[in-house]
Amino acid sequence: MDNSLGHPIFDKNIASPGTWVSQYADYLFRYAMSRLNDEEQARDLVQETFLSGLEKLDNFKGISSEKTWLTAILKNKIIDIYRKKSSRSNQTVSTEETDYDRQDFFDPENGHWNNQHQPSPFAVEHEDLLVSKEFNKILQQCMQKLPSLWFSVFSMKHLDDEATEFICTELKVTPANFWVIIHRTKVNLRSCLQKNWL
């Protein structure tokens, strides 16, 4: 009867929670870390994912693999966190966000780059930067400095390749605002990279 108790069962229609930790815990932890970069939060989410999985075992039909199914549960939890963070920062009219807006990258009159913010070449070949661990790390740090709504929008789009409409609905931003956020995020990220890399 207790098929679910960790016997190596190869019928993919049956979940086997007894093997979840050994099979998926590290994978799910890395998945959460790359999207939240917060170890404690990532651990908690792995645990919550397994526990919700157990509660919803009846819903597991084996249409997707266990891994895909568990990842989907985790992903929803991450989006919940994004949503909470961004609504919190919306309420307080996010001082961090206005700080960002105050950085005048462009001339308000004609839209030209202001001198001190003009992009200049990275001085290293792009192919080399792509594989540079250090550059990667700086990118990660720059992303962490973003206002939380921007970070959420940016990672849902780029890490998860979510549809724009989906992101707008989940995070309650208008499509027009979505593009403004995408634009400002990139201008800021790029500038942060230039400042910290050169």
């Binding site: 930790v21 790359s34 839209g111 030209h112 992009p119 792509l130 790390k137 593009w179 990139k186």
Partner: protein, 91 residues
């Protein structure tokens, strides 16, 4: 200012279109405007190249940063036990 001149000098608009174009589609008119702008603005061309690089890094390589990361054994053992306990309770 005539419309062509306006876009030719507007880097804010050009960088906005550069971003939108990478993730979605822009209109023919916008494509034309962007082309004209980039033909005359080397700074925005640099921006475009770096923007493409950043997108590549984010989608392909950011996750790699954690590829060796694992949960500690103690946490896993406890979690495993918790799962077994929950299964017993449910059954």
């Amino acid at each position: 200012m005539d419309p062509i001149k306006k876009i030719a000098y507007n880097c804010r608009k050009a960088t906005f279109l550069i971003e939108k174009q990478q993730l979605s589609s822009i209109t023919l008119k916008e494509k034309f405007e962007l082309k004209i702008h980039l033909a005359g603005c080397s700074v925005c061309k640099i921006f475009q190249q770096q923007s493409i690089l950043i997108n590549k890094m984010v989608s392909k390589h950011l996750a790699d940063q954690y590829k060796d990361l694992v949960l500690d054994k103690d946490f896993k053992d406890k979690l495993h036990q918790k799962i077994l306990d929950t299964i017993h309770r449910i059954n």
